[in-house]
Each structure stands twice: as C-alpha cells, then as structure tokens.
Symmetry: C2
Subunit: 391 residues, 2 copies
Amino acid sequence: MNDFIFQNTTKVYFGKDQLCHLGEEIRQRGSKVLMAYGGGSIKRIGLYDKIMAELNRAGVTVFELPGVEPNPRHTTVNKGAALCRAEGIDAVLAVGGGSTIDCCKAVAAAAFYEGDVWDLVTGKAPITNALPIFAVPTIASTGSEMDKSCVISNTDTEQKLGMAGNLLRPAVSFLDPTNTYSVSRFQTACGGFDIMSHFFDCNYFANTEKYDLQDGVIESILRTVVKSLPVALEKPDDYQARASLMWAASWALNSFCGSGMKMAASCHGMEHELSACYDLTHGLGLAILTPRWMEFLLKRDDTVAPDFAKFGVNVMGCAPASDAKEGAVAAIEALKDFLYKDLGLCSTLTEAGIDDGRLSEMARRACKGGTINGYRVLTPDDVEKIYRMCL
Amino acid sequence: MNDFIFQNTTKVYFGKDQLCHLGEEIRQRGSKVLMAYGGGSIKRIGLYDKIMAELNRAGVTVFELPGVEPNPRHTTVNKGAALCRAEGIDAVLAVGGGSTIDCCKAVAAAAFYEGDVWDLVTGKAPITNALPIFAVPTIASTGSEMDKSCVISNTDTEQKLGMAGNLLRPAVSFLDPTNTYSVSRFQTACGGFDIMSHFFDCNYFANTEKYDLQDGVIESILRTVVKSLPVALEKPDDYQARASLMWAASWALNSFCGSGMKMAASCHGMEHELSACYDLTHGLGLAILTPRWMEFLLKRDDTVAPDFAKFGVNVMGCAPASDAKEGAVAAIEALKDFLYKDLGLCSTLTEAGIDDGRLSEMARRACKGGTINGYRVLTPDDVEKIYRMCL
C-alpha cells in the first residue's frame, strides 16, 4: 500500500431531525452567514423557511446569494466573496446541490482574496484562508459536502476547473435524506451515476496496485448504489434508498476509499469539457461517456478485461464468465442496461443535443496539452474517438 | 437509517516513511511530551531510538512513562497524569499496542483532574479537557489510534471499564505496518480477531435494522482480515497483509461502519471479565468466547440463523446452504476452524489456565446488575452457561 495521509474533519449530522443543530453550529463561528442557493427549489420544498426559522432562532443574521448556476460561474463566486468582505460575513452556508456547495467553497476562500477568484482556481494565487463552510445538500451526488474540492466554471474562457485544499472542507454538513425526496427522476439518476463515476475515476479503475480492503469497500458501496437508485426512482420518498445514496455520495470522495491509491480520473476530465461547452448535466455526460470509454479501452487493450469482468460480477451482478473478455463485454452491457433502461437516461450525445462540431477542440482541451493519464493513457485522438462513439 | 452524528478528526499518517512528520506535529502543540510505552519491545525493534531521534531533531523534550501493562492499570494512569502536571507536559505520545494508547488517553484526560483517574472512568467526575494525544501503534488490534475510547483496569476492584469522549480521540496517529512485523504469531492472531470482534459487537450482529451500505462495507473489511491474517502469520513481514490489518483495525471503531446503527456489544463485555480477573489476552478471550456465544444463541433461538448463515457465506467463504440453520452451523464451524486451526489459538478456557471457580461471579459482573442487551439479551445465567461451554 502506498503511503498516504488521511484526515477528514467534517462533522456530519445525518438524518431527518438534525437541522435543529444548524443554528448552534453556525453561532459558534459568528453571527453573520451568507446563504447560497440555486433556482429556488429549496423554497418549493419548504427547506428555505425551515432554515431561516432555525437561523433566526439562533440569532444569526442571514445574507443571501441566490441563483447559483448548475455549473457555478466564477462571476457568481466573485459576487459572493465581495458580499462577504463588505458585510463582514463569518461563515458561508450552502443549501442545494453540489454546484451550490462548490460555489460556497470558492466564496469562502475568495473572501480572503481581493482579486478575481479565477486566480485561485487556476493557481495564479494561493488559497490562504477560508471562512467556515456549512452545507445542507439537497441531492445525493457530488460528495462536495464532505470533500475538500470544488469545480468552478468560467464562461468567458469556457473552462471548468477544480480547486482543492483542506481549507475548503465543510466544517459541518447536514445530510437529511428527506431533502432529496423531491429531486426529479432525471436528476436522481444523474446524481447517482455521478457517485458511481467518482469511485470509477478515483480509484476503482486504477492503474496502480489495488488493495483488497479499499477495493472491497468500493464494490460494496457501488452495489448499494446500483440497488438503491432504481428504488429511489420508483418510490422517491423511500427513506432507506435516499439515505443509502446520500451516505454513499459522501463516502465516494471523502478520501477513505482511495486511501493509498492514486487518483486516476478519465471520464471526469472528458465530461467537464461537455458541461463547460454545452452546460450538459454532469451525471448525464458521465453516463453517456463511461460505457464508450470502457468499450474503447477493451477494443484497444485486453489488459483491462479482468478489471471490467470483475466489476461486472462484483457490482453489476453478472454471472462469472470463463473468459475475461467475455466477462468484460457482459459488464459493459449490464452497465448500459442499467443506465439507459433502468435509469432511463439518454444514451447518446446526439439525443442530448450535441453534434460533432467541437469534438476535436474539446478532446484537445480535455488532455490539457498532453494526455489524460488515468486508468489508461488517452491521447487527444483517443478522446475524440470516444466522443464520436457517443454520437 | 437512524439519525447519527459522524465526525472523526484524527489525522492519520499511514505508511513506512511517515515518522519524519512526528516531530513537526508535536511541535505545533508544544515542546514537552510524555512518551508512554510497554515492556520494551519498542527498544528491541529500534522504534524507540527512531522516535527519540525524531523528537530530538524537532527540539521536543521527552519525559517517559515506561512499563504500561497489557491491561493498563489506573495506578499507572495516575502516575502519568501526576508527571504531566508536575512537568507542564504539552502532549502525550503512545508508542505500543492498544493498551499503551488507552493508557495515554486516560493520562491526557487525568492531567486536568487532581483526583484519581478512576473517578473519570466510573463517571464520578466528568472529563473536562485533555492533552493532545499522539499514537504510534505497534500492533493491528484495538483501533484505539482512531477512536474516542479507552479501557482501564483497576486491580483493586478487579474491574476493567471503558471511558469515552471526543477529547480522547488522538490528534495524530502514525500507522506504519513495518512496526508490526515483529509482533508474535500469537499476538498477531489475537489482535486480528479483536478487529473482527469489534465489527461483530459494534454492529455486524446488531439487534436493530441493518443498512446495506454499512453492512457490505463491514463484510468486505472482515473478508480482508480473514484473508490477511494467515498471510501475516506465515510471512510476518508481508507489507500488504500487515497494512491491510492495520487499516482494518482503525476502521473497525472509527464510527463509520456503525453509522446509524446501535452498538450491541456482547462478547466484549463477557471477555472484559476474563481479562480483569485472569489478565487473559483480550483477543484470545474473544476467540474462545465468540463461537460458543454463537452456538448458545443458535440453540436457543432460530432467529439468529439467517444472520450467522450470511456471515458464513459472505465472510468465511462457506457455500450457501438451503437451510438457514444448516448455514449457521457451517458458519460457526468455519469460524472455529479459522481460529483454532488456521490461527492456532487455543480453544478453551481450561487450556488458557482458567477453571470454573469464578464463572458465576464473572457472569454477574458482566451483566452489571442487569442483562447484556446486545445482539440478543443475555442474563447472568446465560453468560455463565456460555462461559461453561468454553471450559
């Protein structure tokens, strides 16, 4: 096992009756909070009112940053950071999906930087400090509520880039599965596959030595997602299914499952270009890309077959095959059936409204001037071929 | 899933080249450390010298508390706490097994209490503060390096009691699998089964609703222990096996695997009486007790059969049986074979030098004046019967 450092300090309140602790937790850090949220769904489900009542009860003054975009813009972050500085905000509170939490993380850091947050994202300036971050996620997906990174989009440069650091880890997150009951079938499915893809990209399909302990844990969490996701689609208020998805999302990126293994992201890099250029829902992009990425690798390189076959048996419930390649093909088919039939996601970029006009440009950008050094090395030419397989 | 709060702040440096960070981590908290250790094995393996060199390099003044007992005594804790107060110690450092770490945790809390630490253990006085705790475990076993509890023995009253609190969680732990290479076959086996027993007692055999996610994770970690333990016995310097055991130990009690589930300890309570009265090695006591506890329950109550059968198939590698009871019997046999043949542990209390003289008294004490309300309720009479089955 490779050497590693593990620490995850986020305090998680999990369950349906935990929001009563929000006020006391924020109050410990100050009296002024900036609350960020997205398009208003939190008002529709009554969460906005519940949070306001809780914060009022605790004597916390609330400033608002509404309208955070699904792929949060650096301009929105700058607006939030300016508000923090102007009002002397003590903490930031994200109520919403991964995008809202990501936006808040960037705001928390940018509050201590006078310039454009894009300087922090691109590494032109370092993250020196951050306001304490609180999160109330409303979808099981990114795991941002328990990890130390965020992804910010710049529509001027058409870039979607990640930023990470221990200062960006939420101090406290409130995971209430009932807050995800109203998430649509489509978003539930996309979020669920995003969870799975985090495991794939971070370590399950890793081009390094693998470890029984972490590998077995990942497979068991993946199995839980595969089992729970169709239940949540069928019965949106199934508490167990929603709770399992929510806890799985947090554990995909909280550093345990990847302990000792090197991150080997492939599909996330390819997908970020799609959502940067076309504002595609991240999980949908991943769902379209992943099986084609597997097919591309399998055709090129037999060495991936045992890993894919193992995934088929241990996660997708395929029968063991005598031949690894046969098992790998079955695994990919099982994944496609799961995504495009069970979850009902669309299976091509064409259906998602994306044509071949910018594939070559996106492929180059996904490789950032070199290659994607993930599970297997991908050149811009490889990435373009994978994009084309998705049309 | 039941509501729960999860937070584990311990920073873990995992690997064979991480001790170089010890000095800088302690230095952040002060300049005087109390280092506790046991019988001197840390000198034999060269760890004592390595740590001293590292602390000297960082300018940390070291005070020593050698001779911590395998079941650490409250008198040793009192001695350490007095030293902390007298010398103005800034931090405590445990180098050794779970007993040494447990002792240090109690010292860290007792340093802020002028009276006898037994008052803190028995709850007569509250834990108000604790010195920062550092741990360098030398055996994969208790998981004390990442949990918030400790177990202290009082030989005057012949009691072995636990004490817990977030203040007792180590600030930083250094998990170096090579430090466990010299652990004897016997202690490796005992420590390994202690890990498994933590899962059994904390939540795997739980008398509450179970959750797919946590349950699957527990089974995959248990499988890793079952696979790694014989490898480590065969080849004591097998890095992967030692690393898997070490990481498994930490995760058994770090609160994740039991999130949302109620702790339901049965065997630990019964075993603590054996080690309190006879100074028996904890893991050996558990290895003798556990299969008999399972047999006792199975004979009394068919409802345990499906859980035990599932354990057999998913952890011990038994073939699925058509009948749950048959599967449960096979699971218990597989566990016995593993413990008494593969690991070579002795299978009876008689072999361990314990006769029936105090069984009734220990049974009463294990039930603390009532019953053990674990996976299944056990009366003092039940416990005595289980003890007798172990003779």
